[in-house]
């Protein structure tokens, strides 16, 4: 490294050398942080995923693909789809939760942006305030709200959706509700930022050209809010996919997601290689999801500003 820098120095003179050290000084902490706390641990995790499971759950040599086979359901007791159910359930619940969050947050962010400037900070604050309380405590709050004799459960029971003895949790419904509630602010804030910068003249122009309302939205509003929408989708769907606390508390073991599968393999099930393999699949699924989102962003007419 030092010889390389020395060569640079002699080649490009003292001015560049100053710039280089300056640049290094600026980015080095960030790079070191990422290397030590992201890259190295990820490699460590990946290497565990390819090891065999020892008698009490510790990874051992030789290297093997057994964990991935187990993840696909091929255990030594014959094929069973349990883990695949969990993966599919995670994708499905993330998808539903993200769509619901968008449906709620989009009008909400628009509404806030149309309010007098003096009132907006307060409204945004109201959206954000719940997340100042610990996630676990809020989940316990929902458990109380959805317990059997609470009004919400009574309502659902009188509509014939659940038995009168039961509460609304634990269930898939409770998990999705928890996810939507938890991640709403992460969608509202970036969308609000987009709406705030919305160029009204373009919308006006669309109206002047007699575009139908659907086309006004499609061609003038949506592309302008796309950066916020995409950023919000990423901020919501990625943490939702790996969520641990909400399925654990509101799902009651009936609605396990991949985050819980990973946690259980590192803790009670004592199978670190399987846990690492599941975590690896989780990372890959997240990357795949990002690529799909990027495509979608481009398809919807997002330009360079749709940074993904």
């Amino acid at each position: 490294m030092s010889s390389l820098l020395a060569k640079r120095k002699s080649a490009s003179g003292p001015g560049h050398w100053g710039q280089t050290t300056h640049l290094l000084g600026t980015i080095a902490p960030g790079i070191l942080w990422i290397v030590f706390f992201l890259v190295l641990p990820s490699f460590y995790l990946m290497s565990i995923a390819f090891m065999s499971n020892g008698p009490y759950g510790l990874p051992e040599l030789p290297l093997t693909l057994q964990s991935f086979r187990e993840l696909a359901g091929f255990g030594f007791l014959g094929w069973s789809p349990g883990n695949l159910y969990t993966l599919a359930r995670s994708v499905w619940q993330t998808l539903i939760a993200t769509v619901l969050v968008i449906l709620i947050a989009y009008p909400l962010a628009y509404y806030i942006s149309t309010q007098p400037a003096s009132r907006r900070p307060l409204m945004l604050l109201i959206v954000v305030v719940p997340s100042w309380t610990n996630q676990v405590i809020r989940a316990f709050g929902w458990m109380n709200i959805m317990s059997p004799d609470a009004p919400l459960s009574d309502l659902a029971a009188s509509a014939g959706l659940i038995s009168s003895e039961m509460g609304l949790f634990p269930s898939n419904f409770a998990v999705v509700l928890g996810l939507v509630y938890n991640f709403l602010p992460f969608m509202v804030l970036p969308l609000y930022a987009s709406f705030e910068r919305l160029d009204g003249e373009i919308v006006q122009a669309a109206h002047d050209l007699y575009a139908r309302p659907i086309n006004v939205f499609r061609h003038s509003i949506l592309p302008q809010t796309l950066p916020g929408l995409m950023a919000g989708t990423v901020l919501v769907s990625i943490p939702a996919f790996g969520m641990y606390v909400i399925p654990e508390l509101l799902g009651g073991g009936k609605s396990m997601m991949v985050g819980n599968l990973v946690a259980s393999q590192f803790a009670e099930a004592s199978n670190w290689p399987l846990g690492a393999a599941a975590a690896l699949i989780m990372i890959l699924a997240t990357l795949g999801g990002l690529m799909v989102l990027r495509r979608l962003g481009q398809r919807l007419g997002g330009g360079k500003e749709v940074v993904l």
Partner: protein
């Protein structure tokens, strides 16, 4: 055995706390205890600190796997004393996380009932000294379900078509009672019988009134709130909560179903690289003292394995459910200690049960 909740937050905090301790732990006058939460009378700690002029630092876990993972991640040199349940003892010994006890430093060991000396999970008490014992039974709301004497309130759809119930998140215990219900006995260890039990639990999970898996203590709170009408919990915790709030637990009963249930012993052990093994022996001997043993049980509401403490125990601890009747004693069993391929088989089945 009194786990509260096990969210990530507590583990994180514990991890941070652990990091902070590493530098200070070599000190001679400190004893580090790693125990279930709410399982130790603070006055006992104070008395020990005063007697030996030392400082006792307590850390807590909410589940045995959590304790096991922390010991493996370096905890074996950070704590002196741990208090695991019977079926985790062999795997702690085999993985070299604990050290043998020096009986010459534990004269009070003789205070224990003969049946807690030389237990099946640790022949000759080479590694363990009993701390407290209890049962994991069935809790139910008698107003909603009437008299219950069988696990059929969990597993028989016709017996209980509507009332919500939970199973315990400890896989070996839930599978054990499913096995018992199927007639294979609580201690079943045969793969085919396990598969049958797993199938039963998976079917049960699919029923509308299954309220999920939860730890024993939260289930006691849920049954008081009316979230569930049947569940699984520990006898001592049941008594503790019923005493705190008699009204809420007026209709809640604790029973040992006819098919059988779990009995457990939590034992004190010394970690293999304990910073202060000498002081750890002193502490174990202190707990085994007749008076201290009685004080401990009177505080935890669990039965004492200490025979010499019996005259000083509260009346309620000597009758069921704190101490099972002779007839109930025939139905309660230790959870088997699994190892090797058998443990792997079990884990795979249980992971499948959970992830379905």
């Amino acid at each position: 055995m009194r786990p509260i909740i096990k969210p990530m937050a507590t583990s994180l905090l514990a991890a941070l706390a652990l990091g902070g301790f590493t530098s200070a732990q070599a000190q001679e006058d400190k004893l580090f205890i790693f125990n279930w939460s709410q399982y130790m009378d603070p006055e006992i700690i104070e008395a020990f600190e005063e007697k030996h002029d030392v400082e006792v630092v307590e850390n807590y876990y909410n589940s045995l796997p959590e304790m096991f993972s922390k010991l493996r991640a370096g905890g074996k040199s950070q704590y002196d004393i741990i208090v695991p349940s019977n079926y985790f003892v062999p795997r702690l010994i085999e993985t070299g996380l604990v050290q043998e006890l020096d009986h010459s430093k534990l004269p009070n060991l003789d205070n224990l009932y003969p049946r807690f000396l030389d237990p099946s999970f640790d022949p000759g008490n080479k590694y363990t000294a009993a701390y407290q014992w209890g049962t994991t039974g069935l809790i139910y709301n008698k107003e909603e379900l009437g008299e219950v004497d069988s696990w059929d309130v969990m597993f028989d759809e016709e017996r209980n078509p509507e009332n919500p119930f939970s199973l315990i998140s400890d896989g070996q215990v839930s599978m054990g009672i499913a096995c018992a219900y199927l007639g294979h006995g609580y201690r079943c260890q045969d793969t085919e019988q396990w598969k049958e039990a797993a199938k039963l639990i998976i079917n049960t999970k699919g029923r509308n009134n299954f309220n999920g898996f939860a730890d024993g203590t939260p289930q006691l709170q849920q049954i008081a709130q009316g979230n569930i009408d049947a569940g699984m919990s520990y006898n001592g915790d049941y008594l503790f909560y019923a005493d705190e709030d008699p009204e809420a637990y007026e209709n809640v009963e604790f029973t040992i179903p006819k098919e059988g249930a779990e009995m457990w012993v939590d034992s004190m052990m010394i970690t293999s690289e304990a910073p202060n093994p000498d002081l750890a022996h002193k502490f174990i001997n202190f707990i085994l003292d007749a008076e201290v043993g009685a004080q401990l049980s009177n505080w935890t509401w669990y039965s004492s394995p200490n025979e010499a403490a019996k005259p000083m125990l509260d009346e309620i601890l000597l009758e069921a459910p704190a101490t099972p009747t002779d007839e109930q004693m025939e139905r309660v069993h230790f959870t088997p200690s699994l190892k090797g391929q058998q443990l792997q088989t079990f884990q795979q089945l249980w992971t499948d049960v959970q992830s379905r």
